[in-house]
């Protein structure tokens, strides 16, 4: 708890984890499910069958490979999205003319629900790793881009005046004024993009049955392996939980270096 105590809103959310007693309803529900089950329901298998379903897949050696494949796509896609999003965001944020000229085009791209481009990417790029990455990166890029450009546009003019009166060099200006002002917003953009990358990765895997957890899920459903379907659902939930919290920690560490500014235009 201590290291996060100094932080602002984020520190509070990290250090004020909800009481562990809150897990009670979930645990009770699962226990009741396990106890009250009526044998082999094809639709509502008991939690013990979820576990044996997962063990079954793991025994075939597919589970670990699928987890790694999915994680790789998420991380690589997100990395591409961060680079492209920040790059374009800086370009647009620093030039009001570019912001105005590209505005409607960007607005359309942003409002486009990302899954809509999946069939398009499949048609053009075919069933391969490149297609997966393109889809994930393209859809995760928008929140990062918009948050970056908006943060730059919202830097208080006073801060820029100060840098001029102190005769800061271009490099110092970027290091001392611009980066500290935009880092919290960029992190927020990444946080918004994060769940999107997971959804898109799974969607592509489900659609194309390319290696990954999504492919395992849809295979389990097609074979009516209901225990596996539930087991994989829990696994994916765990996946999302771990990724989200891992990013929270990264975010907290970065924000300790560049805390959010209160001076905003």
């Amino acid at each position: 708890m201590k290291p996060f105590a100094k932080l602002t809103w984020l520190g509070r959310t990290v250090s004020q984890l909800p009481s562990a007693w809150g897990l009670l309803p979930l645990i009770v529900a699962l226990l009741l499910w396990q106890i009250l089950q009526t044998g082999n329901s094809p639709y509502f298998p008991p939690p013990s069958a979820w576990w044996s379903g997962l063990v079954q897949i793991a025994a075939g050696g597919q589970l670990l490979a699928a987890c790694i494949a999915t994680l790789k796509t998420i991380v690589a896609g997100l990395a591409l999205a961060i680079v492209a999003g920040i790059g374009l965001g800086v370009l647009i944020g620093t030039s009001p003319r570019a912001a105005r000229a590209l505005g409607p085009l960007l607005e359309f791209c942003r409002a486009m629900p990302p899954p809509a481009i999946v069939p398009l990417a499949i048609l053009f790029l075919g069933y391969d790793e490149r297609m997966k990455l393109t889809i994930v990166a393209l859809s995760a890029m928008w929140p990062i881009l918009l948050n970056t450009s908006s943060a730059i546009q919202h830097i208080h003019p006073l801060l820029l005046d100060v840098s001029t009166s102190f005769h800061l060099s271009r490099f110092e200006r970027i290091r001392l004024i611009i980066i500290p002002s935009v880092v919290p917003s960029i992190l927020l953009g990444i946080r918004i993009a994060l769940p999107l990358t997971i959804v898109l990765t799974l969607l592509v895997e489900i659609l194309t049955s390319i290696q990954g957890i999504g492919a395992l899920m849809i295979a389990a459903q097609r074979n009516f392996q209901s225990g596996q379907v539930y087991g994989l659902l829990v696994l994916v939930g765990l996946f999302g939980f771990i990724i989200n919290n891992a990013f929270s920690i990264v975010q907290a560490v970065i924000l300790r270096r560049w805390p959010p500014r209160s001076v905003q235009a």
């Binding site: 409607p104 908006s150 799974l202 489900i206 899920m217 659902l233």
Partner: protein, 259 residues
């Protein structure tokens, strides 16, 4: 964010860039400079939209998607606000419930697609499962946060003015939580559109999402692009519509930055 770009007087430079991109695309395809087998010119896409409209199928698909969004979002709002209010008002409910929600929340909505298919097959129910479950969270969390944040301070104010508990809830707590609830509702609506398209692609062969896949598999790229354009337009309209409505009803809830 969007408000600054769209509500200022007509953005001519922006529109002309948009038009230029389309014109360049058209010219490139016509001149054969880009010789992708599957890339239709914008004019061909427009013709595709016209043909699909005349056929009646586009309207039918659009109505299906709108209907699923409306049903899914309404269910999500009811559950989200109800549970959110309970959690917001009752510290006991927060203590013995919040962690369960925090554990369930990160499950990506798409992960429920195989489950929905297992239980309901290719059907509207599957689509609703995929649409409702992930859209509940933003409303629930924002409702809870709105109430819980306002509670100790405003309750004290109410007691000072000798208001009854009902009056405190009705005139102090609910109004102060409203902006937060509205933000949650807006995020949920955007999510509902995304998840409805996802569900139609994998779980329910109807609506705009299925239209895109159908035309992709039938190798009718001009129709596929037509569907994508309609989906994008729907996104723009929903986004702008909700923003305009909430702005006129509750001006103080307008977003400061993109969310």
């Amino acid at each position: 964010m969007g408000s600054r770009w769209t509500t200022l007087s007509v953005n001519w430079s922006g529109l002309s860039v948009f038009a230029l991109v389309l014109a360049g695309w058209e010219a490139a395809v016509r001149s054969g400079m880009i010789a992708f087998e599957f890339l239709p010119a914008p004019s061909a896409i427009l013709m595709g939209v016209v043909e699909l409209v005349q056929d009646g199928i586009l309207l039918q698909d659009l109505l299906h998607t709108l209907l699923s969004i409306a049903i899914g979002w309404t269910i999500a709002m009811i559950i989200g606000v109800a549970v959110g209010l309970l959690l917001g008002f009752s510290p006991l409910a927060r203590k013995y419930g919040l962690a369960s929600i925090e554990v369930l929340r990160p499950i990506p909505g798409i992960a429920f697609a195989p489950l929905g298919l297992l239980l309901f097959g290719f059907s509207l129910q599957t689509e609703l499962v995929v649409t409702v479950l992930p859209t509940v969270w933003p409303v629930m969390v924002n409702t809870m946060g709105g109430i819980a944040n306002a509670q100790p301070r405003l309750t004290d104010v109410g007691r000072t003015f000798r208001l009854s508990s009902y009056e405190i809830v009705r005139y102090l707590l609910l109004p102060s939580a409203l902006p937060s609830i509205v933000v949650g509702a807006r995020i949920s609506l955007g999510l509902a559109l995304v998840m409805a398209i996802v569900a139609e692609i994998v779980g329910n062969p109807e609506g705009l999402g299925y239209g895109i896949v159908r035309e992709q598999q039938a190798l009718h790229p001009e129709y596929m692009f037509a569907y994508i354009a309609v989906v994008g337009l729907l996104g723009v309209i929903l986004n702008a519509g909700v923003l305009a409505i909430t702005k006129s009803l509750w001006p103080w809830t307008a977003p400061r930055q993109s969310a």
